[in-house]
Amino acid sequence: MTSLLLVAFLFLIAGVIAVPIASRFGLGSVLGYLLAGIAISPILYALNIDVISIQHIAEFGVVMMLFLVGLELEPRMLWQMKTRLIGLGGLQVCVTTALITGIAMLFGFYWTIALAIGLVLCLSSTAIVLQSLNEKGLMKSDGGQAGFSVLLFQDIAVIPMLALIPLLAMPELMDTASSAAEHVSGTGSHSETEGGHGVGDEADHDSGHESGLSLVEHLHGWQRAAVTLGAIAAVIVCGYFLVRPLFRYIAMANLREIFVATALMLVVGIALLMSLVGLSPALGTFLAGVVLATSEYRHELESDIDPFKGLLLGLFFITVGASINFSLLGENLLLILGLTIGLILLKAFVLLVLSFIFKVNGGDRWLFSLSLAQAGEFGFVLLSFTVANQVIPESVADKLLLCVALSMLLTPLLFVAYDRLIAPRFVKSDAREPDTIDEKGKVIIAGIGRFGGVINRILKSAGHNTVVVDHNAASLETFRKFGIHAYYGDATRPDLLHAAGIDEADLLVVAIDDESQINSIVHYVRHNYPDIHIVARAISRHHVYALYAAGANDIIRDTFDSATRAGRSALEALGVHSYEAEKLIKGFVEFDQYALREVASVFDENIPAGENQAYIDKVKSIMPLQDAAMQGKTDMFSGSYGRGWIPPGKTTDQDSEQ
């Protein structure tokens, strides 16, 4: 227990110290984590802590991240991406693999090893790239979108790669086991036997592990394919039909932690299913995310999973930093540095060429090329897999591992280079095309009850984009049936507002019915987003004061307007000409607003109105004025009964006597 706490504390303190510093210098959080990992690696080594096994746990952060990415991506958008996904992604993987394979063969590797190296290194780091793009707000840019297409294709490509790699090993192992060793010694390995021993160990360990937890181990190829497709179908079908009722059921319980637990259970469950059938867990959760992207629980899921993702990814980056083997790096410094830089240049070059073909232009071209030039975390996975399958000798794999880690370490620097050197040159061209921003000024409506529902209908029918958040699962379900899309969630939570897109929104309508919750939303949003326009629902006249103090732009009393309309109908029913009734009500509203302002100075939210003598006196002094105004005995209010359309020679008093 103590040692667990110690490790946790070590990781946390490293992150807490390094990340803010890196952010302050504009280096991004990823580099901060990586440096934190490097800083604590001697301590971890001294404590004999297995960094790699921690890294395997932390890789789950990538799985969660892809789930979140999927949530942001509706199926329709995924379909729109298909050309880039297959064309750009496919070409990147094929061309990069081919080039690296060719170069590796020039270095004297046998083609199977060379191909395995190519496959390992062609992949980029989803974790680093997406984290950095999100952090810099570049995810929605053309370069960011193109990069994401490639990353997604790579995630899919990992599956056939995992199937292909064992095949590469077979002829070697059957016939010329020694030839592999020869090649290894050819590249300057120190100890052939030691390497071989390690490989055997790993292989035993891994294969045992695999066979214990795989559903498809002993199946034929076609059965395997059937199970795999079945699993994907299960994720989609369950995501579509089962998850919604499940969350509705959970939401009824109104326990936040159970909702979080359910969200985690969903992600972990899908990841487990995918691993069991030999698919990438990241891909599975991504699919589940896409399926749930249109559901009302999307924003709630996002804000529930996001903290876990953030922490796990941070841990992952730290372990990448910590796993760098500095003694090995020191021994082969020039070779590994050269290989890493060569790898980055090669990958960036391929991406640059592809960006011309797929018309990624301007600054986005460089963002796309530089951001994806590293090798990625799947490289780690594939490397241990190739070693386990005796495709790549361990001594070679160790050096490649260093290359992968170093290239990931250099990536944040490439982002910094893009920010400082390249982006400024293209600022002009960015400013020139405001039309390409695909998301219009968004409106967030908190609460879709009887109040917010009307507002939403008005805005939607006028062609505005709204994001609706409500925490009443039952009414959401009803709205769904009428084709109104609303998201489940508690709008008083900052993270949920964030997930709903408050950073990009122009307008927030607070339409929930709980006075203190309304206050807290308005207060929080005004404080953190000074420029957003807030239309707030006031429950009572006294609530108006609180909302005014909190900084709402428009404060609308929820029953006042309908009450005045009912009053107007009553006047009409009593035989008042409808135009007169209209004018009376206008005057009444005008007077009421005047009274509200007059009384504000003596209102004290800490004293109940009935006990506030100054307040009572003020109200009493104003009420006769209102009677006079309504009966046309004063000309205080221009829109009221007293004035308007009185012929010359008549006075209001005369008139009212008639």
């Binding site: 409808s578 009734a581 359309w645 009185i646 012929p647 008549k650 008139d655």
Partner: protein
């Protein structure tokens, strides 16, 4: 027997003496469509469809209103702006109202001598009603001589006012019954209650 619709526009109906009484006088007539514009559209939300259908169903359109600032009350202008649509009342295919007749019935605070080229307003009432007349012409609607009461706010002409009110009811009932063909009041400059009496006698 021509069908008739009376549009009444008075935002201060409560303060009115003459116009309100003219409206009450119309209670005696049957088969007359009456619209109090300020009552029907207190928030000026005029229903174009309803109004166009009303126009199609009637031959004689009466506008009854107090003369405000040399013009109609605002809702009657709003009504014209919205209802007399391109392609309906004018323009290509805009002949739906052709052959109908508009009769304006209005009352002014000023005296009759004020409304002349030499008088206070340096224009006569026909001149001031030109916009309405031109509107009618563009819509191929006949513009009848307006039925006018001057000096409507005075307290000294109660009998004359009553004659004007009675004359209004008489004029509308004879037009509606066909006893007075509508083309007989096209050529006059303006109509007063005395003219109505005269027309009755010549009948």
């Amino acid at each position: 027997m021509p069908s008739m619709i009376v549009y009444y526009a008075h935002p201060g109906h409560r303060h009115s003496t003459v116009n309100a009484a003219m409206q009450s006088g119309l209670d005696a007539l049957s088969n007359l469509t009456r619209v109090d514009l300020y009552h029907e559209y207190p928030r000026h939300n005029i229903n174009i469809e309803t109004e166009q259908n009303r126009l199609l169903e009637h031959d004689i359109i009466v506008f009854q209103f107090p003369f405000f600032w040399y013009s109609t009350p605002s809702i009657l202008k709003e009504w014209q702006d919205l209802v007399l649509e391109y392609g309906f009342a004018y323009g290509p295919g805009g002949d739906k109202l052709a052959g109908k007749t508009i009769l304006a019935a209005t009352s002014t605070g000023g005296e009759v001598q004020d409304y002349s080229l030499e008088g206070k307003h340096q224009t006569d009432i026909r001149g001031l009603l030109k916009p309405l007349e031109c509107t009618a012409r563009l819509c191929q609607i006949n513009f009848a001589a307006p039925y006018v009461l001057f000096n409507a706010l005075s307290k000294d002409n109660a009998t004359e006012k009553q004659s004007h009110i009675d004359g209004y009811v008489k004029l509308l009932s004879t037009l509606q019954s066909g006893a007075l063909p509508v083309d007989q009041i096209i050529s006059n400059n303006t109509l007063g209650w005395r003219d109505v009496d005269q027309l009755m006698e010549t009948k």
